[in-house]
């Protein structure tokens, strides 16, 4: 902070603690701040101080007044800093892909569940890459996905699906590692659901980096359904995780 002559201007502060080591805590502009104290300056709680800023550090260089005032008056203290951070992260899959039998399909990036005509059972996967683990250490408070069942494949009526948690964050060359199971979206052909809740523990596994994908999979190959991948619908399989720390 400078005056029109570009000379530093001292600010007033109120000492909240005595000097310990080279610092004390003082109230500057209503905010409790750790400041460096001049070596030859003794500070008592309640002392009125003059402080100067050098770069990103405050320095107390003098006490003023004949004795410690009762308080620094005037103005209102700003709200306390927020102690808990919360956020909502939108994570679009970096790849959607179906594994049929022992191979990954390259003719489509749509996500299939089940088997059609004895051609091999599908695992329809969405891989989320690195983004979820960018808040490692946070607590998941909710998670949901957006899905669309394509207007092709299987019967028109709504069909049960099974969602699996996938360990890998990127598509492996071999089969994906499937872990937990929950009921998946139940949609008729052509239907979109922009809020399919998934277990909070799954969201937590994504944040922790121990899981990185989701999949549709029925071990018995039925029912057969096709859900949109990234190519058919851009927001397909978008995952939203709410978190706090």
């Amino acid at each position: 902070m400078t005056n029109p002559l570009f000379l530093p201007t001292a600010q007033k502060a109120l000492a909240l603690t005595v000097k310990s080591g080279s610092t004390c805590t003082a109230e500057i502009g209503g905010v409790s701040t750790v400041i460096e104290v001049a070596r030859d300056l003794t500070v008592a709680v309640g002392d009125a101080l003059l402080v100067l800023r050098s770069g990103a550090t405050w320095f107390a260089f003098a006490r003023y007044s004949t004795a410690a005032p009762a308080a620094v008056t005037g103005g209102s203290a700003p709200p306390a800093a927020i102690g808990v951070r919360t956020g909502r992260m939108v994570i679009t899959p970096i790849e959607t892909r179906s594994r049929q039998g022992s191979r990954w399909r390259t003719d489509t990036d749509d996500t299939y569940q089940g088997q059609y005509g004895g051609n091999g059972n599908h695992i329809g996967c969405a891989f989320y890459g690195r983004k979820a683990a960018t808040v490692t250490g946070a607590t998941c408070t909710g998670a949901a996905i957006k899905v669309r069942r394509l207007d092709k494949g299987g019967t028109n009526a709504a069909q049960d699906t099974t969602l699996r948690l996938v360990t890998e964050r990127f598509r492996p060359s071999g089969a994906p590692t499937l872990s937990s199971t929950t009921d998946g979206p139940n949609l008729r052909r052509g239907q979109t659901d922009t809020y399919v809740e998934i277990p909070t523990s799954w969201g937590q596994a994504m944040l922790d980096g121990t899981s990185g994908g989701l999949a549709l999979y029925e071990a018995d190959g039925s029912p057969y359904v096709i859900f949109a991948g990234r190519g058919s619908w851009g927001p397909a399989w978008t995952l939203t995780i709410s978190w706090r720390r």
Binding site: V31, V34, T57, R85, T106, T240
Partner: protein, 360 residues
């Protein structure tokens, strides 16, 4: 470089590449539009800017919406209009035709809409990279970090941006009595400079903090020639803002001062060379620097960054390559360069892609 498959990379080398564009609009977690009809658009990136990424789109005022098939008025009048600047984000994807009716989609990035203006039957949309959120959100209260460099950076940018740290970075404690006043983006940059580290917003939409060294992997090899890539030296040369030495100053635990000094000893503007027989130094001071080694590392890192202003620059004009990003290392006829600026047309008929690269 945005990761693409070998098939997509091969398709980019073919003359008649098929490209598609998809722009989504999001407000928080709500999808407002999954395919905004874009008439023209360009993505521009300049690594020297506070917010490197800029997006400019031209959208018809009234057009059929793919989300529900109705004719929709894109005028940004309502709170949740897809093109309003009330927190709406645009996700830009470029599709590459890879044969057999297959398209590989690359996410170019996430942008926050900064302005939308109706201009006759069109709407002109301006959007910026996600660091825009950090730049405009000055600190309400001074920030006094009490943890480490990592937690300080998280405190500065979360939840607007989440952060991934390169595993090679070594975290350390932030000294007591550090106090960031009001400029959040300056505080972020000051923390990065003192660490030293560099940060970029990835196409997936998070902040990636890594070392300041240039990449060693070549992302793209080009050949200059008639009808293909054109490369020529830029016509600009200036002494303004050029430094060939850095003095990084910090404070030891006992209160003593510590200084790290590094000189640029190579290139046309090297210290002690014809540019000026005396060094032209840049000073910076940070309480986050508390040892001689940290001061030396910060000075060296800052000097590496400054070389971007002293290296010789060239303009490159080439066929659009939607996977290329600023900061990538490319080679033209075997000569290595770093991409400092790029301009990528997003629609067919948008012309060629333009790069400004610097020599290594």
């Amino acid at each position: 470089m945005i990761e693409i498959t070998d098939i997509a990379a091969a398709s980019l080398l073919r003359g008649n590449q098929r490209r598609y564009l998809r722009v989504e609009s999001w407000l928080d977690e709500t999808l407002l539009d999954d395919d905004i009809p874009v008439q023209a658009g360009v993505e521009e990136v300049d690594r020297s800017s506070n917010v490197p990424e800029r997006l400019t789109l031209t959208v018809p005022r009234i057009a059929k919406r793919t989300l529900d098939g109705i004719r929709y008025n894109y005028t940004p009048g309502e709170t949740n209009s897809p093109l309003a600047a009330n927190g709406q984000f645009l996700r830009v994807l470029v599709g590459l035709g890879i044969g057999n009716d297959q398209t590989e989609w690359l996410t170019r990035g996430w942008y926050v809409i900064t302005e939308s203006k109706v201009n006759g039957d069109q709407i002109n949309v301006q959007a910026g990279g996600l660091l825009w959120l950090i730049q405009e959100a000055r600190l309400v209260n001074p920030l006094q970090p009490s943890g480490t460099f990592k937690s300080t950076i998280q405190s500065l940018v979360e939840p607007a941006l989440t952060v991934e740290f390169d595993a090679v970075l070594s975290d350390r404690s932030v000294p007591a009595s550090v106090n960031y006043d009001d400029d959040r983006l300056n505080a972020l940059n000051a923390t990065l400079a003192a660490w030293p580290a560099a940060a970029e917003v990835t196409s997936e939409g998070f902040l990636y903090v890594t070392t300041t060294t240039d990449p060693s992997t070549v992302s793209l090899e080009l050949s200059a020639g008639v009808g293909g890539t054109v490369i020529e030296a830029t016509g600009t040369s200036s002494r303004d803002g050029v430094y060939n030495a850095v003095v990084a100053q910090g404070t030891l635990a006992d209160g003593g001062l510590v200084r790290g000094v590094m000189y640029d000893t190579t290139g046309p503007k090297r210290s002690g060379g014809p540019f000026n027989p005396l060094p032209v130094p840049l000073y910076f001071d940070s309480p986050l620097i508390t040892t001689q080694a940290q001061a030396d590392a910060a000075a060296r890192s800052r000097l590496d960054t400054l070389r971007r202003t002293t290296s010789q620059e060239f303009d490159v004009e080439m066929v659009p390559h939607p996977a290329l990003q600023a900061g990538d290392r490319i080679e033209v006829d075997g000569v290595p360069y770093i991409v400092e600026q790029l301009s990528l047309p997003l629609t067919a008929g948008g012309g060629s892609m333009k790069l400004r690269v610097r020599s290594l």
